[in-house]
Symmetry: D2
Subunit: 482 residues, 4 copies
């Protein structure tokens, strides 16, 4: 089976009848018709359809190594630096469809799975590890073009440094039984984005665990028995694309994932009861390199979108002559070019790992992910500083369809735009930076790869500073008074 179409994606998800709770009610009927999900599922479907677009097939697909049929490029294991560029082009092609607003477009999880599978040999021969399950699942996912999400963060109960949960009833998801069929999991994990609208969910321990039992990784269908997705409030503002140009299309939803004694069959367990592997696999595998390559590539497209909006506002109200305006946009340009440069460097400095996979340079990408959580919020601030009162004068679609329209046309016109286009532009800026959808996007980017402080620390610790310390040592020790 080749890449799926958008229609296939929607039908498959609808058929699952996954247990999804929203605003105190279980979603019934086709989830693709539910107001909170229909927009984003349609956008996701459009991404799948791009794989069938003749002009893009070359970028978006490649022949399956098992069947020769065309499968998604996001599953592709790169062997050369050029392959890395191909992967980036695929990622950015998809990102352009959403302006980078879907953090969990299918390429994210497909890349993640490809990366883990590419390093499955690291699991070989280790206690309670099943590299062959991981490989088989990768192949299965690739050949069926599965949609997936994942979850690994533990519930935010107590964030003190040496906290260790002692509840009799688990809060954090853990293995409560191992039997002939598989492992049984009970408890919760935080935040599956797109939880409930994907075929599968990949579940991983968070890093830094101390107890053997918490070390596991597996994937299960979203409609597994006992699995529940409890959603936050929906941030879809409404159906109107005029009013809510972004949230009506790209609101991915986040949910708490509850495991109510969920059985994970053995063939879907990648490892369990092994804290050493759980703590090291995400770091030593190519997961970080490839996940960050996808993320940074997407964030570039999102930054382009920010730049486009900033400059459009400037044109509309004619403020490009001000040095402080120019300086603000220059900040965005600097951010954009920096992110672009880092991706390129990661590719130029890519290295073959011991299994022949070309990994982009992970440290370089780690720099990118240290930068973006700091600049993206600043960019949303710049949009607000440029838009000013224009972001307060945002009447709705209905207003433009009413008898008050002539006043709107007269008083909301601008140098660059008629009133309607101007309001559409400002609503777009508002939806990106000030709506619940927009602020959730900001929060998402702030914490995408973890707490910014932790990311700094990780960068410090993983960076090779020795050559520079040596250079200084050379100077200091060049002469001695004794």
């Amino acid at each position: 089976m080749p890449t799926i179409t958008g229609k296939q994606y929607i039908e498959r998800i609808d058929k699952l009848k996954t247990e999804v709770w929203l605003d105190g009610e279980r979603v019934i009927g086709n989830i693709s018709e539910h107001p909170a999900f229909k927009g984003v599922m349609k956008s996701q479907a459009a991404l799948y359809d791009l794989q069938h677009d003749d002009s893009l097939k070359e970028f978006m697909t490649y022949p399956s190594p098992s069947t020769g049929e065309l499968v998604g490029m996001s599953y592709f294991q790169p062997k050369t630096k050029k392959d890395l560029v191909k992967r980036r082009e695929m990622i950015q092609q998809w990102a352009k469809s959403t302006n980078g607003l879907m953090g969990r477009s299918p390429d994210y999880m497909n890349t993640t799975l490809m990366a883990l599978a590419s390093s499955s040999e690291l699991l070989r021969g280790k206690k309670n590890c099943f590299p062959e399950h991981l490989l088989a699942f990768y192949e299965y996912a690739r050949e069926h073009d599965l949609s997936m999400t994942h979850t690994f963060i533990d519930p935010q109960v107590n964030r003190t440094q040496f906290y260790f949960e002692k509840n009799s009833e688990p809060i954090v998801a853990k293995i409560v039984e191992r039997n002939a069929e598989g492992i049984v999991v009970k408890g919760a994990k935080l935040l599956a984005t797109q939880g409930g609208i994907t075929d599968e969910i990949l579940v991983l321990s968070a890093g830094g665990i101390l107890d053997e039992e918490s070390g596991f990784a597996f994937s299960i269908p979203s409609n597994s028995k006992g699995l529940k997705f409890i959603c936050r409030e929906s941030f879809v503002g409404g159906d109107s694309v005029f009013n809510y140009p972004l949230s009506s299309r790209f609101e991915e939803m986040d949910s708490i994932v509850v495991f109510d004694n969920v059985l994970v069959p053995w063939e879907r367990v990648f490892y369990y009861d092994n804290s050493a592997v759980a703590n090291s696999f995400q770091i030593t595998s190519s997961f970080q390199a490839f996940a960050l390559h996808q993320v940074v590539s997407r964030q570039i497209v999102k930054t382009e979108f920010i730049l486009g909006i900033a400059e459009s506002i400037i044109n509309t109200i004619n403020i490009s002559e001000y040095k402080h305006v120019q300086e603000k946009v220059a900040e965005i340009i600097v951010g954009l070019e920096t992110m672009k440069a880092l991706v390129i460097k990661s590719e130029v400095e890519g290295k073959l790992d011991e299994w022949g996979v070309m990994r982009p340079d992970s440290i370089t990408l780690l720099v990118g992910i240290n930068i973006f959580p700091r600049i993206y919020p600043r960019f949303t601030e710049i949009i607000q500083l440029l838009g000013a009162s224009g972001l307060m004068t945002v009447p709705t679609e209905h207003a433009f369809q009413s008898s008050i329209r002539k006043e709107l046309d007269q008083y909301l016109q601008s140098r660059g735009e008629n009133a309607e286009d101007r309001v559409k532009l400002f609503r777009l800026a508002w939806d990106l930076t000030m709506s619940p959808f927009g602020t959730r996007q900001t929060l998402y980017e702030r914490f995408f790869f973890g707490d910014p402080i932790r990311l700094s620390s990780q960068l410090y610790q993983s960076y090779n500073k020795e050559p520079y310390v040596e250079r200084v040592k050379g100077i200091v020790e060049a002469f001695s008074l004794k």
Copy 2:
């Protein structure tokens, strides 16, 4: 007639039947029952009721100089430094009821009017100026405890430096006729906050005008013929105080004010056709000193609220031991204490003006208003950095009332709080910093007194730097080589 009650406020506004447009429809019936306005009107009513609270009367009222009846302290003309402290206590008493979230609580406009009236002598003898109209209106407002809003910003059509509107049909509101009854105004002004839910609207030219005709100031009832308020989308999230603890109560609304050949009777015209007065009156009158004294006093209470939320989050998830957490809260404390110190300094350094009114030091307050637009957005960012994933796991009231509650109780509990209180806290934080209501608050504070760049410039230009330049000159010229 003494201070009004909340009930009287609501009845009076309902009776006006002001022309208010929202989402393409004219508001009909009692505006106080409209979903977009009922919350804020109730909160405003509660403020008026505080003036009748026996334990607060002493702070909130004073005997009218004309009738001896108790009128609102916000109308009080201070004569001593102690009077300034009394005014501050009144402002902060009201602000505590709303945690500083109502930028247009009645004291703001009452203060503004008091300040303008106190300097009415500046209009004496000038062309087309009517100081006696201004005084009479101040007295009338004080004795009837009028609610008011104001508007002065021009539509954001073209913000280039030397733009001059040349439309045949006016966009910016201007005087199109002067006749026996008064002046006739046509065009629009931007942003009347609370537009439509006050008795009156005070209309002033923006500063820096070039043509004589644009220089005017007047006040008219909200239901004046031809006057229309066109609202932006409402940011009330819903009626549920659980879900929308702030927007359900404090969303003040902003509207475009359209003047469709509105007649302003002469007795309500304070000045007209006088650009020199229009450009100078706001600066030379005590307007800036008193308006900023009110604003900064309110912003202090808002900052206290931010601090309370930050520390509550910290307690809830137990993160107070982290230096970077402490540093972030220390930032808020520094901001809070700075604002408090500036208000105190403005009072300690207050000076009697030539009409015997004790003005707080205006420059000191200008410093405050230069600081707040920079720190308030940062504080909302700190809330997000502390709250992290807690701001994404925010199920709704209904969820807590459904069968899924037991899962929520288990998985959303925290060290410091049960799940319900914890979610309420995080929804509060979300509504303050991430909801459309919250982001509009941020935008409001960013631009409260104008563009931040312009405020820097104003501070630079109005600050007396000479003594310090002289000190340096003394050093440089102390000796000479020649």
Copy 3:
């Protein structure tokens, strides 16, 4: 004996023949004639002379409670809020003579000693504590107008969190013997500013000590046997006031203080072998309140100096029209007014302590000292950004006295100044921000009251956040779904 004159100060110090080492040589002869010390001693002498200036006597002195003779106001124990203002005026009078560049002008240590003595009752009845010694020394110092320095930081050997020195030979100064005459101290303390040019040195344990033996406080004459001051390189650029307008006059010198089995006689021991007292006395005494009141008052004058230089540069090269220039100076103004406001608030909110001393509000001043280490370096950066190439074209006094002068006069003239005055101004700016003297000033302000991170932490921990947490609790608990 009343306040001393500058001449008396110099004679007294010269007579001590303190053991001071500089650049590998022991200072011999009169230290007041040594190139590294003559400038600063002359400036210090001028401060003492101010106490005899008839027009200032009223501000600078008060009648001794023991003799009625005029003693230095810096020793004055305030009883009222007005007294706090008097103290501030004295501090700022002295600071204006040095533009705030002498961090250890005599008022700093006099204030410190006054504050410790005012709280001496805290030592009463505690193990190894001698409040009467402290009081007697305070009186002695006041009546003899002693000059003093102090030292408490330990050598920077290993700054890890749980480091505990285990050397057989002490590095950190400690008590190695207690005998009939007193205690014997061996080891070193870091950084006595003005070490070697004061009558006395006050020695205190650093905070946070763990072992009983390290808890002590005493004062001894600078020429005590076995006491050595090892100076860093001198940052006096040279004698020329043209070339080095600041370092030639205000370079205070820092030195390592070595205790080579120094005997401290009992009457000079304030406490010893008491870690509890050592850790708490600096916090519970009025030390922090008064020391910070002195420091912030001085920093205000220094900020005025910065403002004067910034504006002088702007005038000289005529750049005041640029918004980005205005914004930079506005930053300085904001800093200056903030510091001024904080001092005023600390006085307005002063409180009598249990011994009848009026303490300025310590938390408010702690805010000041959290702010200054962040803004002062920024201000020096602003000077550099404004001065630009002007800070590179700084020929010397000799150049102006040579045949090349006519070229300098022609090519270094500016709109606002002739070449000579312009170069003097830029050299002044350079000496404040770019010379070794200037950068040491910056480092000094960065760390004046300890590491900035530690100061944030201290502010967080000592600030009363409860009222605001309660306010939030009130909202969260106002309603419950159960």
Copy 4:
């Protein structure tokens, strides 16, 4: 003649007897023996010697297209992207010798001249332009391995926007005569770094000139008649490498360049009396692309040096466990990797210009030069924040050679280093960030390519924002209500 040796460089400069004024005296005798110049000339000589190092010849030289002899790689005109990498390796090889501290190492000017010459066709056929002079001079310089400096900034007399000099006696250098032999120049230019210790000086108009007469470019020998270099004060701290490890070796000196009716022979005039060419040539030629490629490559090495020093301090006093320390070093790492990535991107995106020269992408490098002036000063601040009191306890070489050494050895030891090495390290840090040499380095990087505000503006204006505006337009115009 092939690349020169260090010895040849020194002899050639000594022979010139250029008119250099320092501290009011003309430098006489061999300038290479003068205390202010000997260190830097020795370092420069060492750079020339590297071209003769057998192991480096391949990187540092290439066969002259005219003679086949080996000439300096800095003169090399790249034709491929690989050539760009070769150029970078040469630049960074040299930079490593000086840790990037010599902004005017020979490759800078050689690169500049190569770039201008590569675009000489832009001058072809234009009024008063002599492309053949430029080409001939390039060839001459390459074949003789000339050392050069340049100057283009005008004296800082009046920086208001619309200032136009009206002095009868020129301040800004201008052409005062054109005769048979050449043009005669009178007036001054600001800041020739290394002025007086190079063979030649290239003189160019600053950008944005308005009058035809100010448009010129030429090169003349440093000892041309009437040419004077007036130096600022020397920032060489002294000969001791222990005390002044950097200023004793790398202080390049800046000087004002005075033209006292200097005759420039026609064969050295590249263009004159042509403001259009003067304003456009620096932008349209490959000057910016190649100059920035050199600069950013050097700044990378300098940032590595900063990183080495920061980490060495951390190791020495054992503070690597602190999150805030890690965060500060992570900032440096982010800066370093960003600069590295931008250079790589500029090479990957290089393009052949119409004359077959491979230009690195200029916009990408412009981003780099927008970043560095902001991060470098911050890095020097980080060094100070890490070093803290260690930067105050810096005794001199003599102190370590005196009887006080045993105390220094005991009290200045650190976990990581003995006292001597520790002091050497901290003196290195001090010389880089706090000495006059160090602060001049900071100022130099702040303004290397002009005022930071102007650089932002240039980036904004030259960046192609259209594709992103179009993308937004696509969204806004996708549907219309009418």
